[in-house]
């Protein structure tokens, strides 16, 4: 691999949600646009570059953002629309290489090592992708080109918006050296603080620290990781999106759950989430697994395989509730609950229609119901619509 340096491009859409809003409503261009949760308790999902000048950044509470920029344009999240554009953008990426690893709706790694013979070097490809995205969607994307994921990602962030940064092979160290260590993958606040005490505030400083010192301070694996990334060494491959083998959700509770009723309510919440995720991925699954971790950290799983794949929360909940009876939940405090579905198949249930419960007509209705609920969730968020049973838990939780 070191003989033939890889060419990796990291592509990151600029202020994606906010840019999409401005794309759909050109009159907003040039204004501080803030996309986020509708309620005051929501947080900022994206802020346009104009809004960022006011100090607004994503994950900031909406209330704070309103204070910073009272005349800003505050918009709700339109996930479906973003997803639509995201698909379009990912499709453009795929024209240049099959090795596309999406990180989120607006971000992806591309390995174009093998595409160079056909399409030119990494820089040429990155420029072409930027052009195509702009021409076909009207949005801008920032690109970083380097020999590893680590460096490509740092590079793409360097000259936003509409940025382009090329780090030629062999110059990774020089490129990283002046940057603050916080930019490195695996360096959080705690690590940064410790490193600062050791005299390292830039990546270059870190690169000069002996490996032995780092492993002594951070343990063998984290220490070695820091040592390598500081040199710009990152052997991680670009992993094209794989079909999920299972879809699930689990939750660790702040306080152990004791009451059967409370446990069942959490189960309903999890089932609802998992069913939505299944539908979002356009899949159904046959094998339903319930995971229970007790207060003493003992963990068990119970699963059942249905005759027909499902993506219905009611069926998921009903099934997991039966599985729950086969655990000690209710007698022994529960620390964590998890629901997952595997044996995934595309779309509805392989087409086999049911004789009872879900009559064909009813199934059609249920379909409509799922679609409507999903649309509401997409538009107004997870809290907007949910089984009424889950409302009862609200007070206790907060």
């Amino acid at each position: 691999m070191s003989q033939h340096p890889r060419q990796i491009i990291h592509l990151d859409m600029d202020a994606f949600y906010a840019s999409v809003e401005m794309l759909d409503r050109p009159e907003l261009v040039g204004q501080p646009v803030i996309v986020g949760g509708a309620s005051n308790r929501g947080v900022v999902s994206a802020a346009s570059y104009e809004a960022r000048k006011y100090g607004i950044h994503s994950a900031m509470p909406m209330v704070a953002a309103r204070r910073l920029c009272p005349h800003g344009v505050f918009l709700p999240v339109r996930m479906a629309r973003y997803r639509e554009l995201s698909e379009q953008i990912m499709a453009i990426f795929h024209r240049f290489t099959p090795l596309v690893e999406p990180l989120s709706l607006d971000e992806a790694f591309l390995d174009v090592t093998a595409s160079r013979a056909l399409l030119g070097d990494g820089a040429t490809i990155a420029e072409a992708i930027k052009r195509r995205v702009r021409e076909e969607t009207g949005l801008t994307v920032s690109a970083g080109v380097a020999s590893s994921k680590l460096v490509a990602k740092i590079a793409s962030d360097l000259h936003k918006p509409d940025g382009f940064t090329l780090v030629p092979p062999g110059q990774e160290r020089e490129f990283l050296a002046p940057l603050p260590i916080g930019r490195l993958w695996g360096v959080g606040t705690a690590t940064a603080k410790t490193l600062a005490l050791m005299g390292a505030s830039t990546i270059g400083d870190l690169a000069r620290l002996p490996l032995a010192l780092l492993t002594a301070k951070f343990g063998p694996s984290h220490g070695e990781h820091l040592h390598l990334v500081a040199q710009g060494i990152d052997e991680r491959e670009v992993e094209p999106e794989q079909e999920a083998k299972s879809i699930g959700n689990e939750e660790t509770f702040e306080k152990d759950l004791r009451e059967q009723q409370v446990i069942e309510r959490e189960l309903l919440g999890l089932s609802t989430k998992v069913a939505r995720r299944l539908r979002r991925h356009g899949v159904c699954g046959r094998t339903i697994t319930l995971k229970v971790k007790y207060h003493d950290f003992r963990q068990i799983t119970r699963s059942v395989t249905l005759p027909v794949a499902t993506c219905d929360e009611g069926e998921l909940y009903g099934t997991t509730k039966v599985l729950l009876d086969r655990t000690e939940a209710g007698q022994v405090p529960v620390r964590l609950l998890g629901v997952s579905v595997s044996g995934l198949t595309a779309g509805e249930a392989g087409g086999q229609l049911s004789l009872f419960a879900t009559q064909p007509k009813k199934k059609g209705k249920q379909h409509g119901l799922h679609a409507a609920v999903d649309r509401i969730t997409d538009k107004y968020g997870q809290q907007a619509i949910k089984p009424a049973t889950l409302l009862a838990g609200e007070g206790k939780k907060e």
Partner: protein, 377 residues
């Protein structure tokens, strides 16, 4: 004194074999992996149970000394099976050890005390009705296949529904109904016996495994006595008793489903050729759903299947049909199983739309009906 007996090898082996299915598996109470052996006047009484199903079989034996013991079911069965002796000698020693002698071979087998074995359920002889085993066998054979697998589907579909009808002037009927949620099979049979003594107020839902055991009881016997009690079904033959815990729960409203099926339009298909053709189509279906396409046209039925990885298959059958062309999808396995248990030369399949249930009947299969939901393909 402790139990000492000589048992005829073949009868002992047959009894042990019948008990194997209901001895407890790993993870249940340890003693349930054993069978209880007790002396009686006429021989030795063997008992096995998994707490859902209990079976008792009498083996005629020469009892030299009365007593009881429990011994590991599997090991005992294997020992007797491997022996070529005509007679097995069993002698209980101290500390629940059993000494077993078969010809030149001596075994010492560790047992457990008989008083720790769960009590066998009581039942009332007065609740039993004598039925021809032929009739019971037929009811089971024609419906067992579509009982839902355990762990699959809703719990209440993992059993066979049994109902009784007394029709004034016509006689007494027994009906068995099974469904796995995608198909439903019903067999109704007029029986020679008077069913009035049967207590069938509650929903009689017999777990699949229990039905399989009843089916085994039908073999080599002219008749069996069957009864239902509050919590259990009792089946008795000469020298053997089977007690099955009934399932709690309701069976879906199958009558309503059957009633609303529109019987205006049907196709008549020769049964054997259809079955053979479906088996050929099944070679090319996707593993799980066995989707076979039925293209129904004037007097012909074109069956086809395809598997994206392997290839496709197509066949044509002559049928009698003279109505609008239709295209339906079915799980080929469901169709095969439904018509496999029929006898009619020609089966009638009532079809309506690609989403409505298809009802299958045959002129020479009175009382039998199978309903299969199509697949969307």
């Amino acid at each position: 004194m402790s139990l000492t007996a000589n048992l005829p090898r073949d009868a002992f082996l047959a009894a042990l074999a019948s008990l194997q299915n209901v001895t407890g598996k790993k993870g249940t109470i340890a003693i349930l992996a054993n069978i209880l052996i007790e002396s009686q006047d006429s021989g030795v009484l063997l008992t096995a149970t998994d707490l859902e199903i209990g079976i008792r079989i009498v083996v005629p034996a020469e009892v030299l000394s009365a007593g009881a013991i429990t011994l590991p079911a599997r090991k005992l069965f294997e020992m007797v099976r491997e022996s070529s002796a005509e007679q097995i000698h069993l002698e209980v020693k101290e500390n629940n050890w059993a000494r077993i002698t078969a010809e030149s071979t001596n075994y010492k087998l560790a047992g457990m005390p008989s008083d720790e074995y769960p009590a066998f359920p009581e039942y009332d002889e007065a609740n039993l009705v004598q039925l021809a085993s032929e009739e019971v066998r037929d009811l089971i054979d024609r419906t067992l296949f579509s009982v839902a697998q355990e762990g699959e589907s809703q719990f209440n579909l993992t059993g066979l529904l049994v109902e009784r009808d007394v029709v004034e002037g016509e006689g007494h009927f027994l009906r068995a109904v099974s469904s796995d949620g995608h198909r439903l099979t019903m067999m109704e049979k007029k029986v020679a016996s008077d069913l009035s003594p049967l207590k069938m107020d509650r929903t009689i839902l017999i777990p699949k495994k229990g039905v399989q055991e009843i089916r085994k009881f039908c073999d080599n016997k002219e008749s069996l006595a069957i009864g239902f009690e509050e919590k259990q079904a009792v089946v008795k033959t000469e020298g053997a008793i089977l007690i099955i815990r009934l399932m709690n729960g309701d069976f879906p409203d199958y009558k309503n489903i059957i009633q609303v099926i529109n019987k205006a339009r049907h196709i008549a298909i020769p049964r054997q050729p259809l079955m053979n053709s479906l088996k050929r189509m099944n070679l090319f279906t996707e593993d799980r759903y066995n989707a076979v396409q039925f293209l129904i046209g004037k007097n012909r039925l074109i069956l086809s299947s395809q598997n994206l990885d392997i290839g496709s298959a197509k066949d044509e059958l002559e049928i009698s049909y003279d109505d609008q062309e239709m295209q339906l999808g079915f799980n080929g396995k469901y169709f095969i199983e439904a018509i496999q248990v029929m006898e009619s030369e020609v089966v009638k399949a009532y079809i309506n739309s690609e989403e409505s249930p298809c009802l299958i009947q045959g002129d020479d299969d009175p009382g039998y009906m199978s309903v299969i939901m199509p697949m969307k393909i």
